[in-house]
Symmetry: C2
Subunit: 670 residues, 2 copies
């Protein structure tokens, strides 16, 4: 016998052996006649999907016989494949069902991307890595032996044996919530059922007959809003997104007032927990409805949130998070049955919560880190997530450092006299004429500037109601660039005599952004509030950079809603973030939610973020003397022109001559 | 250096080394000066208890310095020991706290039985093996590092670190129900807490400060009654027992009528589940109250019950158990959080259910097998558990075979015209005068025979209300022995002319056990009912014996309430059980409950019974043709005199001449 005939055989027998090569994996071996492509793939560990286990039902194991299709080296198209096509529609060009195409000679078998379990989902932003599917819950179609009087084994045991024999999955376990309907489901499916199996161990759900789609939901539980993304667990596709205001707002607008509510009201934590869980469950209903799936088909959920939301959702009293030393009850990743959290999904579904990093740096930041993956990058990256406080992570694959900066809620429009949340009617863009000091602005909901003729008509519905976070950044940056405020944040009272937009208010001065109803004015106190907030944010970044050795960030990523709305140029002009090539400064959108989605779709990503969070260095800004120094130094606008070489390329910054802050603008006025 | 000084050291250093020998284990090694007896024991894996981890608080590590106490080879009595004694009372003669007594020279250290974790609990019956304590849940006292701003680790993580550092226990896990009070408990205990840890992994409960007792409850959930035993998990002592009628009785007296209720009433299984869980929870309350312990100190529970009760308690629909092929949902051992079953105990406590053997042979039988342990014996043992049906297990350490025999409820007094449940006032013993055929009897609640003068006075309270199961066995056996009924069970009508106790009832005859109110009569149909029941039981035993090769049992154990009440001689006389040396026939009491108690106290016993149940051969009598043959053959009373050589030694059996069944009695009468 030649080597061809004596190669390693799937059955070790003496039958004729054929060389089978899989692409793109390159795995290869000899197999005897009549072995199916799916069997060969399994034997070699080639990533080829299957839900029905080779019965020609699911169509997940489609392959292309890249070489050998035309001659007799593969079995001909058969009745099972024809039945599949008749029922489910044609396969792609040159495709066969891997479970039906049998090897009759040397062949090359290509596994298309959509037939792989570990397929990739490309994300919108070019700089982000694709999400790889690594299913936490998989579906297994099995045929279970019927009970008979000769064999007293239970229905569960026979189901477990079917999983072991037909899929090689042993040591499976089912909770009572799943067992409750086991007998009815087996009989309804006439002993053919689809098992949703979590991590190859826990039976999450059981369906009569064949089923090939399972779903999951990723949640971002914010203090203000809760967002949900319902995904197909096999394709990674987002089928529906839903969001709502966090109903806990009635217990306190910001987190600390909710913690106070808990402290003042015995049992208040239970009330807050119930409220947020109901909201999450409601979102599940909405997303399921939108996607046209049943709640019982939702097999897994993931959660990110700041430490207080994380604790309240899990039913843990957040009181300790209300004061130093801010001790978390729990920081590691945590998973628990969904029904224990009051969520109505598949009976055995679990909820996975990403780990918290520290008392102020929560699972939301872990989500951001997972989504942006600075730990995989060579580039020194600064990730900034601005909410009521700002969480910062800095570093690269060598080292990551994290902290929370006490910015307060000024960036969200709170504590600003004309501030408001980002909503239609809120001013989000502002420009101030360098000569006349007259402003123009845009509001959310319209693309027109306020000096364009159609503006009033276009904003009749919404009106102009206030200034949102990004608008405040721009108006104060523009006031600085136009010379209305000095580097140390003082509104120049001398301008009031000449320019109607600058007016005296007691012993200080103010800038009128808009006359009319409501009249929108930036007071000296507003400038101070933003200075404090931006100084805190900048000091946090500075502290991290310094701790990492001093090298400037090569990339700055702004996560969260605030980051999506602001113009990064203005953020840098105001000194919120350190200098960086503006081409490498970008908003990441809801990166925390993306992190939750990655954790939903990829089991390995969970281990990855858990490991990263364990290794990340945590800095508590409150006890770092250098933080105070940086904070004080960062009060000026912008800290130093020469610290912002990249910014200087795109904006004309006021000259940084001390004691002569407004000379530039007076020069232009003359 | 001599060998003495160079022996293996606990720290590998060059310090002076002393030979330490532990008794009774015989383990020995060299240790340097100042190592405590407890440390040395741990190093050598000597079974020496400790809850406080060597802080001189718990007193569990008491040892006797058997050699070396009097000279300077052990450190002197110290302040910690004195404090313990002042607070908790004197130690036994010659005892030291193992954590305080330090090695200063060559010594022999004896570990008394009560200082061992794996101590033995001797049982009442001489033939049973003692229960070895192998704790499922253990208590660990730890001192937890306080949180501070420099270290953002959570309270749980610091607790876990304390367990790892102070006890070498890593990878611990806590459910949300436990985590809920974690922060409050740590602070209430000023960072000193006692952790109840299950299987070295799950945190079941957490107590502020030091705590050295934990409890568990073993349940036997019967169709008629539910019994609970509350035990100290460390000593094995039963601190309280409680029982109540199964409140499901209102849905049906026997199991099948409860299954029918479920079939007829949608949601009826939920109702039955709620009812039994409430009863079990109520029993927990009663037992805890009696023992003076808190519900929150109950750390584990175990359950035995027949398949239908097992399923209903777990919330599994028993419908399939109502008809062939009697498929269980679940047969293996199962554990689940207690709160999932509605039990109010320690927040993280688990309930362990023993495995079911087959659709008719439940976790109660598994409990009996564990308690009687025929699988450890050389003797061929027949274990019989009679309830509504009878479960039989036969074999020895080579092989075990089990079946269920459809005896029906006749042995429980049901379907017998004068029958009643075993309760005060029920006739339990009967003798019939061989010459006059006059009966005498005893009732439950009195030790007097009915022909004794004080009988009426003694039974004034209870009256004489009926005949219980054991009374029915005796009266029918006595009727047979007195010649009132023939070997084939016919009441001899010819006697009616001579003996007032025998009377005609239509075309058959009856025997009057008692005149008066109520008048208690054994009708021909009653004899038939008992014949059917005993034939079923005997046929089951015969089938098992035959399957095992035919050797007669060397020991017969009767489990359950019925077995405790009947006189085994009469049981054998009537042919309920096969012949066996009567010295080796005994009642085991509530062996199922004992099995639950063993599983509660001994973790290894769980693995043991799970393994035994997996290996036990199951026979379904309904499909065994031989069962029908044995059944028919066993209708006669007793089957064959020559099949009962042991019985013949103690009772005069009627001559077994066919067609001449009553010749003996007539002979005596003449």
């Amino acid at each position: 016998m030649n080597e061809h005939l004596t190669g390693q055989s799937i059955d070790g027998g003496e039958a004729e052996q054929h060389l089978v090569v899989f692409t793109p994996s390159g795995r290869r071996d000899y197999f005897p006649t009549e072995v199916s492509a799916l069997q060969a793939a399994r034997k070699l560990g080639v990533d080829l999907d299957s839900v029905c286990g080779g019965r020609g039902i699911c169509g997940r194991c489609q392959v292309v016989i890249a070489e050998g299709q035309s001659d007799d080296r593969v079995s001909p198209w058969n009745a099972v494949e024809q039945r599949y096509v008749d029922k489910r529609g044609a396969l792609g060009e040159g495709r066969r069902l891997g479970c039906q195409a049998k090897i009759c000679g040397d062949i090359v078998i290509d596994v298309p991307a959509d037939s792989q379990v570990h397929r990739q989902v490309v994300r919108k932003r070019a700089e982000t890595h694709p999400i790889v599917i690594d299913p936490v819950v998989r579906l297994y179609y099995v045929e279970v032996r019927e009970p008979d009087m000769h064999d007293p084994s239970s229905d569960l045991r026979r189901l477990q044996m079917a999983l072991a024999e037909q899929w090689g999955v042993s040591e499976t376990h089912a909770d009572l919530a799943v067992l409750r309907d086991l007998q009815k489901t087996l009989r309804a499916g006439e002993w053919k059922v689809t098992v949703a199996l979590r991590k190859g161990r826990d039976i999450v759900a059981l369906y009569p007959g064949f089923r090939d789609r399972g779903f999951g939901v990723a949640f971002d539980i914010g203090s203000t809003t809760i967002a949900a993304h319902l995904c197909d667990l096999a394709s990674g596709e987002v089928l529906a997104s839903a969001g709502l205001m966090n109903p806990q707002i009635r217990f306190g607008e910001d987190l600390m007032s909710r913690v106070s509510y808990v402290m003042m009201n015995p049992g208040g934590d239970g009330e807050l927990t119930r409220t947020v869980r109901e909201a999450v469950d409601q979102l599940i209903g909405e997303a399921a409805h939108e996607a046209g799936v049943e709640r019982a088909d939702i097999l897994e959920a993931t959660i990110v949130g700041n430490p207080i939301m994380h604790h309240l959702f899990l039913g843990l009293d957040p009181t300790e998070l209300g004061g130093a030393p801010f001790a978390l009850t729990l920081d590691g990743a945590f998973e628990t049955p969904a029904r224990q959290l009051g969520l109505n999904v598949a009976p055995g579904a679990f909820v996975y919560c990403l780990p918290c990093i520290a008392g102020h740096v929560g699972a939301d930041t872990a989500g951001v880190v997972l989504a942006e993956a600075p730990y995989l990058s060579d580039e020194l990256t600064l990730v900034v997530d601005v909410g009521t406080n700002a969480e910062l992570v800095f570093g690269n694959k060598e080292r990551l450092i994290a902290c929370s900066s006490p910015t307060g809620p000024a960036f969200e429009g709170a504590q600003i006299s004309c501030g408001q949340r980002a909503a239609p009617g809120a001013i989000e863009r502002v420009r101030i004429d360098r000569v006349t000091l007259e402003p123009k602005f845009k509001v959310i909901g319209s693309d027109l500037w306020s000096d364009e003729p159609a503006f009033d008509e276009a904003t009749r519905q919404t009106g102009v109601t206030g200034v949102c976070g990004s608008g405040i950044i721009e108006v104060i940056a523009e006031m600085f660039l136009a010379g209305v405020i000095s580097r140390d944040g003082v509104i120049d009272g001398a301008l009031a005599a000449t320019f109607p937009r600058v007016e005296a208010v007691g012993r200080t001065f103010a800038y009128v952004v808009r006359e009319g109803e409501p009249r929108l004015v930036i007071y000296q106190t507003d400038v101070r509030a933003i200075q404090l907030a931006k100084a805190a944010l900048y000091a946090g970044a500075k502290l991290l950079i310094e701790r990492a050795g001093g090298a400037a960030p090569q990339r700055v990523t702004l996560a969260g809603a605030f980051g999506s709305h602001i113009d990064v140029t203005y953020a840098m002009a105001l000194g919120l973030i350190p200098d960086c090539d503006l081409a490498h400064v970008a908003a990441a959108g809801n990166a925390a939610g993306t992190g939750a989605r990655i954790a939903l779709l990829n089991l390995a990503a969970r281990a990855e973020i858990e490991d990263v969070v364990r290794r990340v260095e945590k800095i508590e800004t409150a006890i770092e003397p250098r933080f105070q120094e940086h904070f004080v130094a960062a009060m000026a606008l912008p800290n130093k022109v020469d610290a912002f070489p990249n910014l200087a390329k795109v904006l004309t910054l006021p000259a940084a001559k001390a004691g002569d802050d407004d000379s530039g603008r007076r020069r232009r006025r003359r």
